[in-house]
């Protein structure tokens, strides 16, 4: 009996010692684990993003290069997500533009879950009829937020692209190349249809085939090229009178739902080619100066 008491006591003490060591290490382990959950959520989000979102937003989230299921490059119809104006600062410009009162996380989670049906983004959350569970929406949101980094937001203002103030300063346009880049990579046809075929325009943007005739009459003092050049760089400068909404002609949305990032994405040559594809001319005249803001994608100033 004495031996048993001794063995039992030793076993009990050993258990206590082991537990003591575990307890000492516990704060570090807890921290590693709460981070691990987030890390794994982001990994899961990356997988969901690659399978569902990259088709429109690009695998790098910049809406620059998008591929369909068969691996062919197609136009990116989504907005860039790996972008300063969505991710940097506590109140990034895109939240401000929508009068969003909540945090970035809620903004992105809400957009993923409910979608933006008017702008072509489907609903993803199951509670709105989409395919993703709540936790998957959360994972994708954490993944998108994970693009926020020192390199992206940097603190210093990012040099925005500089555009010539007059469209006539662009190089000569090539309508054939314009027709190609109009579809890939810029994806204009997703909203505006093809210039030569009105039946391909299904909204939400207006069909551009009318512009060769009408563009110079839309705004007083603007040449056709001025009007198109400014509308591509600054989608809210002019709102076209008539858009297709759900297949029916109606007034265009204001503010415009057109992506405001073509100034960042396009080269001067591509710009000239697209305008010449729309207008059918290779040289452009200009009457007005377009004020494309310098440093348009500068990170917002922290309050």
């Amino acid at each position: 009996m004495q031996t048993k008491i001794i063995i039992g006591t030793i076993a009990f003490m050993l258990t206590m010692i082991v537990l003591g060591f575990v307890a000492l290490n516990e704060p570090a382990r807890l921290e590693a684990f709460s981070n691990a959950y987030e890390g794994r959520s982001i990994e899961n989000g990356a997988e969901i993003f690659a399978n569902n979102c990259a088709t429109c937003h690009g695998i790098n989230g910049r809406a620059e290069q998008c591929f369909d299921a068969a691996g062919n490059e197609i136009g990116c119809v989504g907005r860039p997500l790996n972008a300063v104006d969505l991710l940097c600062g506590t109140k990034p410009p895109r939240l401000v533009a929508m009068d969003w009162g909540g945090a970035k996380y809620d903004f992105i989670e809400g957009t993923v879950a409910a979608g933006r049906p008017w702008a072509g983004m489907p609903t993803w959350g199951q509670q709105f009829g989409g395919p993703l569970q709540n936790n998957e929406v959360r994972d994708v949101t954490l993944f998108v937020l994970n693009w926020e980094s020192e390199t992206l937001c940097g603190g210093e203002a990012v040099e925005g692209p500089v555009w010539p103030s007059q469209v006539s300063e662009l190089p000569a346009g090539d309508p054939e190349n314009g027709a190609a880049v109009y579809q890939v990579p810029y994806g204009c046809n997703a909203c505006h249809g093809l210039v030569e075929d009105e039946s391909t325009a299904n909204g939400p943007g207006p069909w551009l085939g009318v512009l060769a005739e009408e563009a110079d009459e839309r705004i007083e003092g603007y040449t056709a090229a001025d009007y198109i050049y400014e509308s591509i760089l600054l989608p809210n400068a002019h709102i076209a009178p008539e858009c297709l909404t759900g297949g029916q002609p109606g007034p265009c949305a204001e503010p415009s739902t057109m992506l405001a990032n073509f100034g960042e994405r396009m080269t001067e040559q591509d710009m000239a080619d697209v305008i010449s594809y729309i207008l059918g001319t290779t040289e452009f005249e200009s009457n007005v100066e377009v004020q494309y803001p310098e440093g348009a994608v500068a990170p917002p100033v922290e309050e």
Binding site: M1, I5, T15, N44, E47
Partner: protein, 558 residues
Amino acid sequence: MATFVDQVRELGLKQATIAKADEAVERLTAGMNVNDLRDMLRGEEPRRPNPRLRPHADGFWLHIRPSFYHTEVTHIYPTFRLGWLSTFMFVWETITGIFLMIFYTPSPDAAYSDIWNILGNVPLGQLMRNLHRFGAEVMVVVVALHMLRTFVTGSYKQPRQFTWVTGMVLLVLTLILSFSGYLLPWDQLAYWAVTVAVSAAEATPGPPALGENINLLLRGAPTIGAGGLLRFYLLHVLALPLLLAIFFFVHYYKVVIHGHSLPPGREAIGEDTAKRVPRDERTYFLPDIATSELMWTALTVLFLVAGSIWFYNAPLERQANPLVTPLHVVAPWYLAWSQGWLKLADKVFIAFIFIPGLATAFFLMPYFEVGKSRRYADRRVGLSVAMLFIALMWISNWMGSPEYRVQSSPDQEVAQELLPQEGHSALKEVPYAYLEPGTYGPFDAEDAPNPFLAAALEEFGHAMQQRSCSLNGDGPFERCRVIEQGDDVRYGNSFTNDAMPNPQAQLIIDDYQENMRRLVLVFSAPDPRNPESSLYSYTRTGYRHELSNYEEERRILQ
């Protein structure tokens, strides 16, 4: 009756307090005062009348325990303490389970993140979860061994047949209890294992409405969701433990009534002397059995704690998703035999004829196996059948294990080994800092930039060797065996009949986000008969975040 004040007047404060304390101890122990306890711990003989019997007669806790045992049954053999250990494991699971219940909500929205909360926010939470889950598996082993021991020593024979029946009920309850807890973390592992198991109910013979309704009853809806989780939770924490407790008391009452059977060689054939214990062969519960049980408690706790820290880690996969079926769904090991059997015969036959038939045979065995002798030499047939049955279970378990699973294509199998959708792999456990971006072939282990990656690449090479072959016999792979099946040609090696001929495989690691890398496995094998097209072509992408912590998960203590 003198009041305390009278006693102080008579004896003085000190003596009166001592007398009062002694009285309190005597009440708490239901009959033993401080001196009796001291004598007992010193190993001295009890006074007359023996105060150590009074807790059995007057106390609640010991009234169900016998006051003495036959000395022959107090050694390790013949009981191996397995019955007591089973009881202990039930108490242990109750205690650790209550701890986990505090932090758990049985709802699909909350359950999974609750488990992560236990792992990442609750002090000692991971340990507690490991203790509970490890304990559940230990309990299955202990209860099964207890049954085996009872069979081997013939302790199920008259008059203990009914004890055996209640013991069988307890074994079945233990298995169901363990499996019902499986669903609660609400991860992929849980969800799909339970979905597959419950789907057996659909095969219920009779009108289809019967199977559908049984299924509905278990799942709470056509698929397992909030209702099913709540049902499994209530089964796990309420219904099954309650049933188990009831049957435990019946079982133990029968054990006490009939006494522990002596080792088979110790009594004449056909006799049962367990209740006729000569005075000189008695070992009293107090103090000998009690200290022995306390010692085993301490040792078992040490084993469980150490095991949960160093040798066992409760898995947690991704959150359950009814739309994503993982590649290989497996039952827990203690039910793998049923999965093995399902590969051998029809679902209806296995689930509704074979397993219930076998269970009935087990339940009723003591009533038709009525040989009088419990001695081993007289029971050669019975013991041999038992050994054969154990061998059968062993093989069935292996057949139900992941090793014996249905194989998918070789490129996917290699990808699954290195970058499984769920669970661990050598590549997943390379710490983030050592996942050096670059392009690696399956045989680049020697040139790997660090030992972690080298270990993962070694696995890569090994997996490729198993699933690949070489058409002309040179290079690192075996020569292909060409297998013609009608128009179709497959290529085999000594491991599989479906190998990749002359494959190209690469692991590409690149930076994806600032703190996340992308691991891409690319496989391609051209069709030897038509080099233009490819026989196998597959890409799997995995992601690895800096904080995911796969490599640390298994170690609480470092």
